[in-house]
């Protein structure tokens, strides 16, 4: 039997829907993703850890869930909100329905929500915390919501132990803040030997394996939660080519003395135009971030801004001026979304190779 579920926002707005995943109560930051495909990649992207994700496209689950389109082993979102979840999907790769998958993995999900109205609310008021609950919402709920805070999310998604993936080519040390599988796959496709380190690893330990280059991955939460990592990076940038992706890019900025801030409602989707200032070209990118590097805190003697978002002008890429170090706010590894900037991996490996 369909069970009613409510989504309560911290400003008191209530949306009524129906559960189709686990029927629990959960709290989290409510964010929206505008991608029209790729819900499975979104669900399993560790950067969404702790968040309640709203899909703006109304039909979700059309092609079911399969074994391969995963960005980590388990779904990472805290809650999932859609207009309509497909009960009878069809795709040659599908092994189960979206609802079955979410139930099995105890992920709370509701459907029947006017997701456009919800998105407009978030866009206007900024990202809010939210609660999904089977009970009629109360004042108490809202007080609790205001108190809620997600603590050190990276610790929950980073790898516990160092591991290596053999390869013939360039040796890349990956610091895993919640790595998406396709970052690893992108390196594997380029024959790299890969050593993956937990987020809290000291620089010394990383340098011990003598990598040719270092990749700082994506990950959830506020970049400034990762004080230890910033210190590690300060050391690494002095001696290795480094590529930072998303959170990794923000950490590179912090390591160069810049500051980050929270965006009103972030960038999450597969259609964000980014200008490559060095080439005068614009690329469509896959994005998932709630924070950005603050423009006015950039030390232009040390850092060159290489990419900007065409829509809101925020920093999308930077480069250390006298180092082989660069970072991008978007996701060259795609998944979901366009792979138009996949060549950045080549550029990174070229730096590492020289």
């Amino acid at each position: 039997m369909d069970r009613k579920g409510f989504l309560v926002l911290e400003d008191g707005t209530v949306f009524e829907g129906t559960y189709f995943g686990a029927q629990d109560r959960v709290m989290g930051e409510v964010v929206f993703n505008t991608g029209m495909t790729g819900y499975q990649e979104v669900l399993t992207d560790p950067s969404y850890y702790g968040q309640i994700v709203v899909m703006t496209f109304p039909l979700v689950g059309n092609y079911g869930i399969n074994e391969i389109d995963i960005e980590s082993e388990i779904p990472r979102v805290r809650g999932f909100v859609v207009k309509e979840a497909c009960k009878r999907p069809n795709n040659w790769k599908a092994t189960q329905t979206l609802g079955e998958y979410l139930c099995k993995n105890a992920i709370v999900a509701i459907e029947g929500i006017d997701t456009r109205a919800l998105t407009r609310k978030i866009r206007t008021k900024g990202t809010m915390k939210g609660l999904i609950t089977p009970d009629i919402p109360t004042e108490e709920n809202i007080v609790r919501l205001n108190e809620y805070r997600l603590d050190k999310p990276v610790e929950h998604v980073t790898v516990k132990n160092v591991y290596t993936i053999p390869g013939e080519g360039i040796h890349v040390a990956v610091i895993d803040f919640g790595v998406k599988r396709n970052i690893i796959e992108s390196l594997k496709a380029r024959n790299c030997r890969i050593t993956v380190f937990p987020a809290g690893t000291q620089a010394e330990q990383i340098l011990n394996v003598d990598p040719d280059a270092v990749l700082l991955t994506n990950g959830p939460g506020d970049p400034k939660d990762n004080i230890q990592a910033v210190e590690t990076i300060k050391v690494l940038v002095e001696c290795k080519p480094v590529l930072g992706i998303c959170l990794g890019h923000q950490l590179l900025a912090l390591a160069a003395g810049a500051d980050t801030e929270k965006l009103k409602f972030g960038h999450r989707g597969s259609n964000h135009p980014v200008v490559d200032l060095t080439r005068g070209r614009t690329y469509i990118t896959s994005q998932n971030h709630g924070y950005t590097v603050k423009d006015e805190t950039i030390d232009s003697k040390r850092i060159e801004i290489t990419h900007r978002n065409l829509n809101d002008g925020t920093i999308e890429g930077l480069r250390y001026k006298d180092r082989s170090v660069f970072g991008v706010q978007f996701h060259p590894e795609a998944c979901p979304g366009p792979g138009d900037t996949g060549f950045l991996f080549d550029r990174f490996l070229d730096l590492a190779g020289n």
């Binding site: 929206f32 039909l59 456009r116 866009r123 259609n271 135009p273 065409l310």
Partner: protein, 1069 residues
């Protein structure tokens, strides 16, 4: 990159008449292009032969030429206007081919004209099959095993190597003309021969069939810097095997995983980059339903029907952006006009589902071949937007205006399960309903998928609708609780169908919905899934919790659009709707339009103050009116689609602007109209009404044969026939009564007189008649299929006076405020009224353009209370200027196999062209040329075959042709008469005789013209039918009325004369 400074005057080539495969979408694209160019201060020179378009309005371009689209004409225009550039990619295949010819003939070099946007080489790479294949192979994009042949023998050789089934497509054609799927040698021989002939370069591509694979399209744009984006992708619900123009299409794709979506997206970007296209482009793929295997099927290096659909589906104006790119701008420099803040260099995110359904002409052409394949047959399409697939699909179904209020088709319910299972295999216009019926019967998704190739995802969605319909049938209206009704409306089930299923009145359902608070809200199409604030006044209804439309307090007028393009209601009505919007805005009103045709200008979101993309049914229209609470509703400009809604709008308490509803009814209702004519003493051909066959036969007996039989309240003479005998009456009545008739069938005495037509505007007091149009063909051929001439040539001043008198009397008696269209018949010096339409008509754009009187604007001003005498255009009949114009109909017979070519009272043309000159012969010459008839300059061979009653008349005609130097061929009977009268003619065997001369001559194209005047009535004279079909399928002009033949002769005489026709600029008259 800023705009190139060396572009100051640009020649834009339109797409010509509306034909199947090339319709209103190019008026939309062309109009956008003209506006974008003017915005940049560029001088625009426009050539298009189609007078029914917005783009040929004087305010759209600096210099407008309504002239035939031929290389000679374009050269004349170039010589006169001296453009420095040409924009080739916005006028469909016609415009593109013409631009390519100009380049090939060296004319661009000769006049120093730059080709803007995509280069000649890039166009060739995309259009030439062999070059395209090689380019794809170079960049590793898979193309289907194929070859290009120039002869039938080569085709056979390839078939022997790779086996059947094989798909064939001719190069450089539109709508897949001449293509087809061959499953065996016989089919191969036939289709290959056709295709080779129809291709401009006599090339046909043959390839291995991928029937049943997913058909996916991407709309891609690239700028001169190399930035490229995909505007959207679309998935054909009908898999490979049905032309995309004949497929139900959804946007975005609904069954593709992100990996599949991105794989094809990346391929699209690689392809557009490899081809070097600058501007919009459409790429079609076939994707295997069970692997990652795909093929690139086709690339259109220009804006297209699909790009119009994609623009409307996303809010991204592809034609406008392509134009700006052609001027030198980068995608990242062009503003997104929807948000005003972001740029054109992004990919729209949709938060709704779009469904397009083609509109086929088979409701009119009951005898045409309805099978769908690689040759497009639809005349138009509808689009609907919804938050679920179900609601979008159902809204699209209602928008077709075919009388469907659910997925149920009544004639299928009587069939056995076996018959339904058999029907599933047929690809035709009814497949959606057959599939629904099959699901209703419990035939498995697996079996239906096997037979139709339709993805199980869609079939499950259809089950949702069908199951809900079935559940309702078991309910009473009292059991209809809130959740059920919510579910029904979320799926788009209509109040009308719900009422029928639960056996209640439609008003009860609406009341119940109001009681439960189940009322639609309106959402915005904003290109960005609400991520950014948007200013596009572009709405669709949904059953969500938040309404986004906020209509201001007053000064609002809602305009009812004209829906999909169909035979009898074409682009002309969109012209009228758009001009109505502009006129209202000029008067300071907010103009709000409801329409559902994605091809048109009226559904461009920056035309009106608010656009509601909704079905034109009472439920959806009243929903909008309830939200808008307008000052009034305009029903005069949307053709019969709008007139049909008058009753519902009026009864709901909304004000119908202009002519009062009861008078609209008076003009439409036969009895009341007859009474009115009687009262006014205006004669009309005698007639009567009937419901049954017997009644009809009685009326016909009383009037005496021949009689005209037709249903009331129809457009384009739908179902209209001339009956010569009792058995004709029986046949026609049974066809008409296939669908339930609410109104009686009309039976009139058929008189073979001269047809005359006027459009007039009336303010309740004064009347303005911009001009009188005379038809070349005698009554009996539908006015839309007749050549119409302005000013009239054979109408005496005495009759003119009568026309004016009757028009004034009728307009005043019918309390006309706004437009009225009257069709007259002159017979033996007596004037009869045949028909009165209390609305704008097909001829309004034509007469407005040739007289320079902006009829729609005047009508709107009159409706809104201004006086005609204050408008500055005079009153009464306006005397003609120097211009003579001939409107010539254009048909799409080659696209519709088995359709009778001979003209009759039921309209068949899909479009029209205009010839404008300073004398009639020249106007006719231009008209015929523009319509695609090659005028051979007095040499060549004519086949004449005339029914007995016309043989005497044919003698004089044949003599004239002979005098001009034509070689005459005639069928036996005709030849005998000609020879008897001393006109030399060679006798050719009828088809039934052995050694069919005619067949061979037509196939070898050793004939230049066929004049075939058939026996009337429906006696199947198979020879004539075949000759006519063969002629049109082999692109040989086929004339089926002696009047047309005389006019054609006139045009030929003109062409052999010394004087070369001169191009006429609309802005100079």
């Amino acid at each position: 990159m800023p705009r190139k400074r060396d572009i100051n005057s640009v020649l834009v080539i339109g797409s010509g008449p509306v034909i199947i495969g090339q319709a209103a979408e190019f008026d939309y694209a062309g109009t956008q292009a003209c506006r974008a160019l003017k915005e940049e201060g560029v001088r625009v020179i426009l050539v298009n032969s189609n007078p029914a378009t917005i783009m040929t309005d004087k305010n759209m371009a600096d210099r407008v030429y309504i002239e035939p689209l031929t290389v000679e004409v374009i050269e004349d225009v170039i010589e006169k206007e001296g453009p420095d550039s040409i924009l080739p990619t916005l006028g469909g295949q016609t415009g593109l081919n013409l631009a390519m010819s100009l380049a090939e003939y060296g004319l661009l070099d000769k006049y120093g004209i730059k080709l803007l946007g995509t280069s000649v080489d890039s166009i060739k790479k995309a259009e030439d099959r062999e070059l395209f294949k090689r380019t794809m192979e170079d960049i590793g994009q898979p193309v289907i095993e194929s070859t290009v042949v120039c002869s039938v023998e080569e085709a056979l050789g390839f078939a022997k190597r790779v086996g059947y089934p094989l798909v064939m497509r001719p190069a450089y054609t539109l709508g897949g003309t001449g293509g087809g799927i061959a499953r065996n040698e016989d089919e191969l021989l036939r289709i290959a021969a056709d295709g080779i002939r129809l291709s401009r370069v006599n090339q046909v591509l043959i390839e291995k069939s991928v029937e049943g694979w997913k058909e996916i399209e991407y709309e891609v744009i690239r700028d001169g810097k190399g930035n490229c984006i995909t505007v959207c992708n679309m998935e054909n619900m009908d898999p490979m095997g049905v032309h995309t123009g004949d497929s139900i299409v959804v946007a975005p794709s609904l069954t593709l995983r992100d990996k599949e979506y991105q794989m094809l997206r990346t391929a699209s970007l690689d392809i557009i980059s490899a081809l070097g296209i600058e501007g919009g482009c459409n790429i079609q793929f076939a994707l295997a339903p069970d692997s990652m295997k795909y093929y690139v099927i086709e690339v259109n290096p220009r804006v297209s029907r699909s790009s119009a659909l994609a623009s409307k589906a996303t809010g991204y104006p592809i034609a406008k952006v392509s134009t700006k790119i052609a001027l030198g701008y980068g995608l990242d420099e062009i503003r997104n006009s929807v948000t005003g803040k972001t740029y054109a260099c992004f990919e729209p995110a949709l938060d709704y589902v779009v469904v397009k359904i083609p509109r086929w002409p088979f409701d009119k052409f009951v005898k045409a071949d309805v099978t769908l394949g690689t040759r497009m047959k639809a005349t138009g399409e509808v689009m609907a937007i919804g938050s679920s697939f179900e609601i979008a699909l159902m809204k699209a179904v209602y928008s077709l205006e075919l009388g469907f209020d659910s997925l149920e088709m009544s004639c299928l319910s009587d069939m056995s399960d076996r018959e339904i299972a058999m029907l599933l295999k047929q690809k035709n216009h009814e497949r959606l309903f057959v599939v629904a019926e099959a699901l209703r019967r419990g035939i498995s998704v697996k079996e239906i998928n096997r037979k139709t190739g339709i993805d199980a995802f869609f079939l499950h969605k259809l089950i949702n609708i069908v199951e809900q319909e079935e559940r309702l049938k078991k309910m009473s209206v009292r059991q209809l609780d809130k959740p059920t009704l919510e579910r029904c409306k979320g799926m788009g089930l209509s109040d009308q169908a719900i009422a029928r299923f639960v056996k209640a009145d439609i008003k009860d359902i609406r009341r119940k919905r109001e009681e439960y608070g189940i009322l639609p809200v309106y959402k915005v199409v904003d290109t960005c899934a609400a991520e950014f604030e948007a200013f596009s006044p572009y709405y669709y209804s949904s059953y969500g919790c938040e309404n986004e439309v906020n209509p201001g307090p007053e000064g609002k007028v809602v305009i009812i659009g004209s829906g999909p393009i169909r035979i009898g209601q074409g682009i002309e009505f969109d012209y009228c709707s758009v001009h109505c919007i502009w006129a209202l805005k000029k008067l300071g009103y907010q103009a709000v339009i409801i329409n559902n045709n994605p091809e048109t200008v009226s559904t461009d979101f920056d035309i009106s103050d608010r656009l509601y993309f909704e079905p034109l049914t009472p439920e959806y229209v009243l929903n909008v009116l309830d939200k808008e609470k307008p000052d009034g509703v305009m029903v005069q400009f949307g053709g019969q689609s709008a007139i049909k809604l008058v009753k519902a709008i009026h009864e709901a308490g909304y004000r119908v602007l202009g002519t009062p509803p009861e008078y609209i009814h008076k003009a439409e209702d036969r009895k009341e109209f007859d009474a009115l004519l009687g009262l006014l003493g205006i004669p009309r051909p005698e007639g009567g009404t009937a419901f049954s066959v017997d009644e009809a036969a009685d009326v016909a007996e009383r009037l005496g044969y021949p009689v005209l039989v037709r249903p009331s309240y129809v457009l384009g003479g739908q179902g209209m026939e001339i009956a010569y005998t009792n058995s004709d009456v029986v046949e026609f009545m049974s066809i008409i009564n296939r669908s339930r008739q609410e109104h009686p069938v009309l039976i009139d005495k058929y008189i073979t007189g001269r047809e005359i037509e006027v459009d007039a505007v009336c303010d309740g007091q004064d009347i303005l008649i911009p001009g009188i149009m005379e038809h070349i063909e005698r009554a009996g051929i539908h006015s839309g299929d007749s050549i119409s001439v302005y000013p009239p040539v054979n109408v005496s001043s005495h009759i003119v006076k009568k026309i004016v008198d009757y028009t004034v009397e009728l307009a005043l008696a019918l309390r006309i405020k706004g437009l009225i269209n009257i069709q007259f018949l002159e017979y033996k010096e007596k004037l009869y009224v045949i028909e009165v339409n209390p609305r704008s008509s097909r001829t309004v754009p034509f007469i407005s353009k040739v007289t320079g009187i902006p009829l729609i604007e005047l009508a709107v001003r009159a409706i809104m209370g201004q006086k005609i005498r204050d408008m500055g255009y005079g009153t009464g009949l306006i005397s003609p200027g120097k211009i003579v114009a001939a409107k010539v109909p254009v048909f799409s017979f080659d696209k519709l196999p088995m359709l009778e070519v001979a003209l009759g009272p039921e309209m068949k043309s899909t479009g029209e062209v205009l010839g404008m000159a300073y004398n009639l012969s020249e106007a006719l010459y231009k008209g015929f040329t523009a319509a695609g008839h090659k005028i051979t300059g007095g040499k060549g061979t004519v086949l004449i075959s005339v029914a007995d009653i016309y043989k005497d008349e044919a003698v004089a005609l044949a003599g004239e042709f002979k005098k001009l130097g034509f070689n005459l061929l005639a069928t036996e009977g005709t030849a005998r008469v000609l020879i008897m009268k001393g006109i030399e003619a060679q006798t050719v065997n009828k088809l039934s005789r052995s050694g069919c001369d005619i067949c061979n001559m037509i196939k070898n194209r050793s004939l230049d013209l066929v004049i075939n005047i058939p026996t009337h009535g429906r006696i199947p004279e198979r020879d004539g039918f075949k000759i006519r079909r063969m002629a049109v399928e082999n692109s040989i002009p086929c004339i089926t009325s002696l009047d047309t033949a005389w006019a054609f002769l006139d045009a030929i005489k003109m062409s052999v004369g010394e004087k070369k026709p001169v191009v006429v600029c609309l802005n100079d008259i």
